[in-house]
Symmetry: C2
Amino acid sequence: MLGRTYDAQNCSAARTLEIVGERWSLLIIRDALFRGMSRYSQFERSLGIAPNILASRLARFVEAGLMKMSPVSEESEVSEYLLTEMGKELGAVVVALTAWGDRWAAPKGAPVIYEHLGCGGTVSPVIKCRACSRELKSEDLVVRPGPGTRQKSPMVN
Amino acid sequence: MLGRTYDAQNCSAARTLEIVGERWSLLIIRDALFRGMSRYSQFERSLGIAPNILASRLARFVEAGLMKMSPVSEESEVSEYLLTEMGKELGAVVVALTAWGDRWAAPKGAPVIYEHLGCGGTVSPVIKCRACSRELKSEDLVVRPGPGTRQKSPMVN
């Protein structure tokens, strides 16, 4: 019932949450993206997640195209889980979540700092206008129907 | 059990997901931020969400400081739910989720377009280096311990 109701939300944020909205999912992606993890045992140790949940999340990522399985070496039967381009592009989501949490839910200060590998600068998520290059706040944005809007419903987003 | 395990994750992304990770939560925030909604009845109509779930989410937002309740007018007993600064700053998370979904989970094209109110340009989420102003990809980032890192665990993030 819940799932079907979500399906009715013609919204890319809702669809993304459909794929990675469960919290463990984004934590697995975070570890793969920014902590160099690729093996089942690494995720298990890092997250303390129940084996059946971890296995089902990884299988779902492979099925959805976020990760692909690959043997660790030619001789090995152990596989690792490597992020695809689709998976790697979730970096902006993880960085945006982290920045918000650093500001509003980290009373002892940021647990980790994301740095630019090239110059050592700290990084921030920014909403940028592609036309005028300004950095925008939420109140600077308006929403208009895109090409994927359904015509029949007046409340689509 | 699950909750306690999450608590062990000293990570701002995990803490943010603790507050708004449940999918309905971010859809409510989206409607408040970008569709001008503030009343219980508006969220209910927009999302088709069960009344008890919607009521508990809104109450949780007020408790967490993401929203505040305010009477619609001096004479009215009806309240509206207004985003605080803390809530408004989730805009970058919603835009990042939407951009990813537009690219990877919207076969018919983006359901909505976010535009810059000032100039009509389309917007993108960007990870920006605060030192050199470059726009970065996930692979351009490294993670180092921040001030809120616990010392005792070798695997904190």
